[in-house]
Every structure is written in C-alpha cells, then in structure tokens.
Amino acid sequence: MRILIEGGRVIDPANNVDDVLDVLIEDGRIAALGPGGAARGTPPPDRVLDAHGKVVCPGFVDLHVHLREPGREDMETIATGTRAAARGGFTSVCAMPNTNPVNDNQSVTEFVLDRAKREGAVNVYPVGAITKGQKGEELAEIGELVGAGCVAVSDDGKPVMNAEIMRRALEYAGMFGIPVIQHAEDLNMTGKGSMHEGLVSTELGIRGIPAASEAIIVARDILLAELTRSHYHVAHVSTEESIRLIREAKAKGLHVTCEVTPHHFAITDEAVKSFSTNTKMSPPLRSTRHVEAVKAALKDGTIDAIATDHAPHTIQEKEVEFDSAPNGIIGLETAFALGMTVLVEGEVLTLNQLIARFSSEPARIFNLPKGMLSVGADADVTIVDLTREWVVDARTFASKSRNTPFDGWKLRGEVLATIVGGKVVWELEG
C-alpha cells in the first residue's frame, strides 16, 4: 500500500526537519520525503492525503497509559484505549502494569501484546512491574519481562517505598538497560490526602498532600541512581522541588529522565473548588508556583516528555464524594491540543519543541525505534490542523471512559489523521 501525504509542513525534530515536503509511505515504512512531487515516485500512490496548510509530524509516543486490560475492561480495553490514542495522534503507547492480574510475569505481557496485535489500533509497549504483584517486597522476574517484550518497569499507581528494594531494582534493571519508572510519593506523608497541600486545601478543609511528599522520594531515588548508574525515570513529575532536583541530577550527568502530564501544565489546584472528581488524581493538581516550574522545565528540557497518564474510570466510580473517588483522569484525546493551546499559544514552547516532547524525546529516552520520519523508519505519522479551534465533547471520545476535566474547553490543534505502520487508523470526518 502506497500513501502519499502531500504538501504538508513536515516537522521532524529527530532529523531537524521543518519544511513543506511530501511524504511517501510504502509497505509500512517511510519510503521518501521531498518537496514538490519529488517523493511521489511510480507507480502512482494508492491514496493521497492532502496536507496543504497542515502539519505532518512523527506519530506521538505516550510513555504512560493505563489500558486497564486485563481486569477492568469496564473502564477501558486495549481496543478502546488504543483507539483513543489514535484519535489523539498517538501511534505508540506504553501500557502500565497495574492491571488485574498485575503484569509481573511473561504470560500477562504476552496477553497484552497478543491483544494489542489483534485488536489494538496503535503500537503497544508493555511496562512490567518492578516487584511481584507491585507489592513492593520482592523483585519481579525483570529479565523474563524484558524478554517477553517489556520496555521498562514500574510499580506505578504506587511508589517503591523501600529504598533497599529500589536500589536493587535499579541495579538489576540496569543489566537490561531499561528505565525504572517511579511513581514518586511518600505514602506516609500522603496519608489520607486527596489534593495538593496549599492555600486551596486550607480553604476547603480537604486533607492535603505536600509537594515534599513527591520530592523526598525523587531526592532519595536520585542518590540511588547515582549509586547504581542505572536509568531512573520520574513519572508524572508535578512539583518545583522535584524539578529542581532533576535539573541538578542531569547537570551532574546522571541518567535521570522525567515526564509531565498535560493536566499538570494546564490547570491548578483551584480547579478542585468545584469538587468535581475529575480534578482528583495522583499526583494532585498543584498550585501556580509548581505549574510555572513545570512550564519552565518543559522549555529548558529538564522535563523530557509529555505523557498523559491516561487513567480511565467508570462514571459510577467517579460519581461520589471527592474523598471517596478513585484517582485519575483520561488524557489521550486532549493531550496534543492542550499542549498547543497552553504551551505554544502561551509562548512557553515553539511548535517544534512541542512536537519533540510528544515524539522524538519520549522515544529517545526509552530507546524506542519511533518518533522520527527518517527514510526507512516505521510509517507512524500524525497529521494535525493547527488553524482550527474545536470544543472538547467527552461524549464523542473513543475511550470507554469520560473522566476528563476538560469537557467543554475550546482548544486549538485538531488531529486530522493518524497512521500506524503505513495504515490510516484514524481520520477526522470531513
């Protein structure tokens, strides 16, 4: 199948490309790129996508997604979650292991990969658990997990609280060159907290979680990364303090990376005043000081990637009192547009930098052969329209879940088409 994407502004940060070019896709790979018809080749393409006035970039890579299958197919399945990914312009997602059963062994990894192959719309890279059952007590068979296809390990949802276990995990995972992803929070400090500890929590009387809870674990783990020389990755970083520590660690040459969610650069803890449970997640929405630090870190590269932490929940689970609600919101279908509207229109990042944080950078730090439009690379391509504004309507989401705080938001940047392995897996009607 030959597809020609014609006349679009091709932005490919990995290859330093920002030019109006045609892109030819053949047999699932990028066959050629060139201006004004040069890439067309013969025979004529089976399909031509008119991308004039649009932006063509590498398919986005989301390092942090909860697909909920196996175990909570009522919230999301690999099929629906990957369709949501495609709708958001993502062509690769890393699937977190806090499923039921937990992905701490080969059979669950193989199940996820098999399901993804048969029903998934985009590439799925499983993340295995650090410890058995994610209990934080004994290392999982990380070698077996890597052999089965896991690209990283994490006990996400929870931190590894025991420093000795975290040290051994970093050491052991270091043998395979994979990152250990930490959900950084001190559970004792978090206690029964439901939101960020700040002025808003003082006013609302909701138990707060101090920024120090996250930063303390990041500080500890950076010392362990220094000791073990392994790759340490901070999931969903949200505080100024953590960012400061990561910046110092990188300056020292330690192999430390991190990601941030769109909600942590788009909204603050003020949103909790509505008591909407779609403002409850872990880590919680922070105050302005932290949001500003996140933006500055995205700009200076301290934060490597934007990752959604897409966390589906059923309506009835979220339709309860704030304190009782489970943590998490979905994010795949609004991520890029939030980046465009808040970061690019907000003059924090250039368009090229935004696209890098969504594609080349996440792929690079996790060693995934993705996020680039080089000749010969997998044809994972996203076409976006930056001229139009659109209104978020959660009812139209491909995700099974609806737990988003952005319903009704007017955003700029609409995904027109998503191509995975040379196949159009999503396109906007009309």
Partner: protein
Amino acid sequence: MGVGWKRKDLLGIQDLTVDEITLILDTAVSMKEIASRDIKKVPTLRGKTVINLFYEPSTRTRTSFEIAGKWMSADVINISTSSSSVSKGESLKDTGLTLQAMHPDVVVIRHSAVGAPHLLAGILQRTSVINAGDGAHEHPTQALLDLFTIREGRGTLSGLKAAIVGDILHSRVARSNIFAMQKMGMQVRVSGPATMLPRYLDRLGVEVFGRIEPAIADADIIMMLRVQLERQAAGLFPTLREYSKLFGLNLDRLKSARRDVLIMHPGPINRGVEIAPEVADGPYSLILNQVENGLAIRMALLYLLAGGQAANNN
C-alpha cells in the same frame, strides 16, 4: 422562599453575601421569641417535610434542626445512617435519588466527606439542602449562630477581635467562622499547636499565633475548639496533658483577657482539656447561649428556604 432569600441551598458561608448573612441573623431574632412562648408552635412550615440525613453522630445540631422543624409545624424525619441502607453500601447518589422520590422540601445533611452536601444539592433538584457539616470544610449554621451570639452580646460585629484556639486544621467550625467573621468585618486570630494549624492562613488575612496568650490578650471573643483523641494517635500532639497545659483556657489565662470577653465553644466540650470547667460554667461563658441561638438560626433558615409566609402567623 422566605422574603429576600434567593438560594435553593445553604451549602457554605463562603458563598454568602453580607446582606444574606444579615438577613439570616435578623430573621433569627423574631424566631427566638417563639422559644419563650408557652405553646412553642407556629404553622409556618405546616405540610413541609424536613429530612435530617446525618452520616456522622450529632447531639446539638440534629436535635436543634428537629426541634426547629417541629416548632414550625413541619414533618421532620431523622435518618441516621447506621440503621439505614447506607450500612448496606448504598451510595450518596442513590440515597439522594431515593429521598427525592419521596418529595422532601428540605434535606439537612451532615457527612464526613467535603463536598457531599454540594453533590446532594446537585442531585436534589427540587429540594433545599442545608449543610450541617461536611468533613473539615464548613459548618455554616454553627458560624451563623456564633455570629448571632456575638452580635447579641456586643450589639455589633464590625471591628471586633476574635481568637479561635485549637485544632484549626480539622475544624469545619473554624473555617466557617473564619469566613463568616471576616465577611462581617471582624479581625480573626488563630492559635494552636503548629501541627494543627493549616498553612497559608495568613494569606486569608488571619493572624496566626504559636501561643495562646498573645492570641487572647485583647480579644473580644475567645472561641475554644474541642481537641479529638484521634489526633493524638495521628502523632499531632503528644498528650492531652501537654495540650491542656499549653493551649487550655483556664482561670489563670482568663485573667489576662478583657473584662468583657465572650467565651464560646461549639460543643461538645472536653471539660478540663481545652477548657476548664470553671471557665465553661463561669460568667463569661456563652456556650449555652450558643445552643439556644442555634435553634433560632435553624428556624430562620428553614423558614427562608422552605417557608413562604410570615413567621408570626398564628
């Protein structure tokens, strides 16, 4: 709705305007008179149904609402969740929908979760919801009766200095009073162990004192809060003995207060812990006045939210 009142619900003090608060206090003045009658009955809420939905235990608030409703001829139902389907796991949403189907006019809810009354108010489209305490967030009727008591004692509210002492962090009474007092032009100070003072109170314009003595020095009102044993278990203070020594209001400390100081406490009191018995029972104490005024305030609210006729129709 009673004349001048526009809201369906009373969920918190933070949303109320000065005019609305004044309306409630003024309405309560005429309600208070009913308590001194021989026949404590007015027909104002005849045919109206008031449901008390208490997810947390309560003596004064619940009894207060019950009596207030009955004096005004309403049909009052009390649901205590330990003996309801809530103990079978029924959600707040389903409880709300079930009650709605029985057409109540007012639901008074006390719940341990912040925002529960707001959730219920959204579900009960045709019923007025009164917040009788949601977690550590607000207890608006308490703050209203406290304002009423202060106004009664001093004749005015603006310019007065109030000191609230105790576990501010976990106190909905403290929060509602901070909002209410500031709205009415009072100066608020707080004091308590550092582990029990929420951060950023100064950003709300509240003066924070690490010791009780400077907080109460020239205060017009001293409001003591109950200290709960489970806070000790949570490591927030070492012993009741030490708490009492550092922050208890005893006769000695009272000596340095103003001659005309008003002592208040939302109750229930821990005699000998945060307040000495002699102080609680002494001449400066308005603790029982608070209880009496609670009735008047709650009658006023039921009238404003569910009554349509003048209170003095009998």
